[in-house]
Symmetry: C2
Subunit: 152 residues, 2 copies
């Protein structure tokens, strides 16, 4: 298999996984510290999706770090297929969660003209922004995986 | 370039484009006939995203139909790259629009316990469902395009 930046076991791949993990964890931290997120389905779904992404990115970051330190190449087709499926599922769920929460945040801030939740509103916004920021690297990772598998 | 079902100029490719067009048009029709959609940003965005997808899918369906009838092969790398970029942009926008509208629909139906908009609520639900149904074939198309381009 070809070797280019972003593939498993490279420094850029590790950086992508780390940024996914950090932003997803930031999104959860910001949302979970609001006292009323559980009243809104989309916000609960955001926490679930970001939780899944945190676990997935953390495990793959560990694998990448191991490969970088030991200078191993992780380009086994079976492994890349597994990465690909996992990346696509988490990327789609993350985008869906970020957009549904963004829809509600915009509804409360813009459409209804004010936010009833006081101080929590800022936290909702930060959480949604982090979710989008974590979606960008995971979508790059998933495109790289598909390219790697297809290019053979 | 390899030839497999779903690539431009095949019957399955044409079927995918047709279903994208039909569901996106259904989503717009259902949303645009409600009298108050313009009060909610996410619903306006849904109409914009579905409008883009309707135009994109219609043009590509025409191209595919021409290729099927004339038995031409549309596997030019430049053309496939263009298809790929267009498909990815419309697929991402469609998913984002469907999810943000779904978040608001679920908020009004489940979280707030009732829908204030009366008869329109059913139309919002139908519109969101159509948007998701149109996202499924466009995501399949975009995966096929990336695979086709990467496999060379």
């Amino acid at each position: 298999m070809k070797d280019f930046p972003g593939t498993p076991g490279t420094m850029f791949g590790l950086a992508l996984r780390m940024s996914q993990f950090i932003f997803a964890a930031g999104s959860i931290a910001s949302m979970a510290t609001t006292p009323s997120f559980f009243n809104i389905t989309a916000f609960c779904y955001l926490i679930a999706a970001m939780g899944l992404q945190t676990i997935w990115s953390f495990v793959l970051a560990l694998l990448d770090a191991y490969a970088v330190v030991r200078k191993k190449v992780l380009h086994n087709p079976v492994l890349v297929s597994l990465y690909l499926v996992g990346d696509w599922v988490t990327a789609t769920l993350s985008l869906a969660a970020a957009c549904s929460s963004a829809g509600i945040t915009v509804l409360y801030f813009n459409d209804l003209g004010h936010c009833h939740f006081g101080k929590e509103c800022r936290k909702y916004q930060i959480s949604v922004a982090c979710a989008f920021l974590s979606w960008i690297p995971i979508s790059i990772s998933s495109l790289i995986m598909l390219w790697l598998l297809a290019a053979g």
